[in-house]
Amino acid sequence: MDFKLLVRFQDVHLRYGSGPDVLHQVNLTLAPGSFHFMVGPSGAGKSSLLRLMYLAHRPSSGRLSIFGRDVSQQDRKELTMLRRRIGIIFQDFRLLDHLTALENVALPLTITGQSLDKVRRNVSELLSWVGLADYLDAKPPTLSGGQQQRVAIARAVIARPSLLLADEPTGNLDDKIAERLLFLFEELNKRGTTIVVASHNEGLVNRFNHPVFKIVNGEVRLIRNQQNSPVTPTAENM
């Protein structure tokens, strides 16, 4: 087992129930501190791949290792502890409308038993960092889409995750704001967080110099490496 790899898919297949393969023979690795894009048309399997990474499913077959642990071999309690090291930004944000921005961001900490009073300062600082210092007590329905997204980002990173997964975070944004959001992710990446961003906007992705996986019909291929040059298909990257 290679402990230097944060995520490792080996011949992973995923199907829901008795349906066909949603993901087919996936082989990919993510090194700690890396930044990857994942592109592909809607329904290609990007979200399913992310769901495997944030442990919402176990592979139907093949081997998936996260933080050096084989997911199929871990019991539910161990998976819970692994999940705490993963931050997720959902396409629809999934903020809780009855909680304030501060309470929403604090959730990954309060669910581990920490009291809101103890984490209030850290949460406030993070909300200030994403430009929402004046909206600590605002509830999501009163915030704009962009502000809600920043709350969702703050919530995903408050517990200092080793791995940050973003599912179509730029989906509803215009290009300029989307670009600023990706700069924010780069900032987090520079601080050591491994980042995977799923997006169907290949034009936007091409403006950044990070490796890109493409998913088509459940098959994953590395189509561009760090040097921003196209990758020739080989047995390794297929």
Binding site: A56, L79, T80, R84, R94, L96, Q114, S115
Partner: protein
């Protein structure tokens, strides 16, 4: 360890509005059933204690004056013998006034007892119920006055006690059934809550919340609602009992029960809302844990 207690918005669910009412009705039924069981038990004990230690001896009347005088002598001898036995509290031959009073409901006032073949009645009360003493009395009676009959009330007392036992068993069955129905209701309400808040539950799960953390949201919600419902049900039962107690007091009948409870019985009644709350809490917890166990 409880984090933010309001992070799952269960208070806003429709189920939150009707659960306390359902629990209140359940606790009301269970408490009333328990009260019936307790009261029947006390009533049965009272009847048992009151009648199993008493006997009534009936001697047929003699038409001729001579035979009557002989019989009265035999009665006096019999009463003296009985008084000398152990475990005898009181022996009394009912006089004309007492016999009149007994016959009054059927024959009216001012009846002439000597015109009617009214039997002689002897009432015997024991210090404590004892089969040995009753056997001794029967033996003396057979020797002294062979044509007399003994009524130790066992036949109708047995039937009555059997009936009260059946009522008690039914009442306790109702308590158990009500507990089961309450648990089923909580399962349904919890499943409804899980379905409504599925996305929140999944979010917590994906963020690394332990199953027990998520379950605690539902179990404390169920506990809170069932405490409110349980206390309301107990209060309603209290009002019902107070009303019945007042009516029974006005009736002032020795055969009717009195609705008074010992501290232990009050404790048992207070256990009803407490049990309902604990059943609701544990049922909600187990329902959520079973549902979460299906997630990886």
């Amino acid at each position: 360890m409880f984090g933010n207690k309001n992070d799952v918005p269960l208070d806003r669910d429709a189920s939150s509005r009707f659960l306390p009412w359902l629990i209140a009705m359940m606790v009301y039924l269970a408490t009333m059933s328990l009260i019936i069981a307790i009261t029947m038990n006390k009533l049965a004990n009272r009847w048992d204690q009151g009648l199993s230690s008493s006997l009534t001896i009936q001697i047929p009347a003699e038409p001729s004056a001579e035979k009557r005088r002989t019989l009265e002598k035999q009665l006096k001898t019999f009463i003296t013998k009985i008084e000398n036995l152990d475990n005898i509290s009181r022996v009394e031959q009912l006089n004309d006034t007492e016999l009149n009073k007994l016959m009054e409901p059927w024959l009216g006032k001012d009846i002439l007892l000597h015109d009617l073949p009214i039997p002689y009645l002897i009432s015997i009360e024991l210090d404590s119920s004892s089969a040995k003493t009753i056997d001794e009395i029967k033996l003396i009676l057979a020797q002294d006055i062979p044509n007399a009959s003994v009524d130790d009330h066992q036949r109708w007392l047995g039937n009555l006690l059997g009936l009260t036992k059946i009522i008690q068993i039914i009442a306790l069955l109702v308590v158990i059934l009500v507990g089961g129905a309450a648990a089923l209701m909580v399962i349904l309400v919890t499943r409804m809550g899980l379905a409504i808040h599925r996305q929140v539950v999944e979010l917590f799960h994906h963020m690394g919340a332990h199953d027990s953390y998520i379950a605690s949201r539902f179990q404390f919600h169920a506990l809170k609602l069932s405490i409110v419902g349980g206390l309301s049900g107990l209060l309603l039962a209290g009002i019902t009992v107070a009303s019945f107690s007042s009516l029974l007091g006005q009736a002032n009948s020795a055969i009717l029960p009195t609705l008074t409870f010992t501290s232990g019985e009050w404790g048992l009644l207070l256990l009803m809302p407490l049990s309902a709350s604990l059943i609701a809490m544990m049922t909600a917890r187990l329902t959520v844990l079973r549902s979460l166990a299906l997630m990886p």
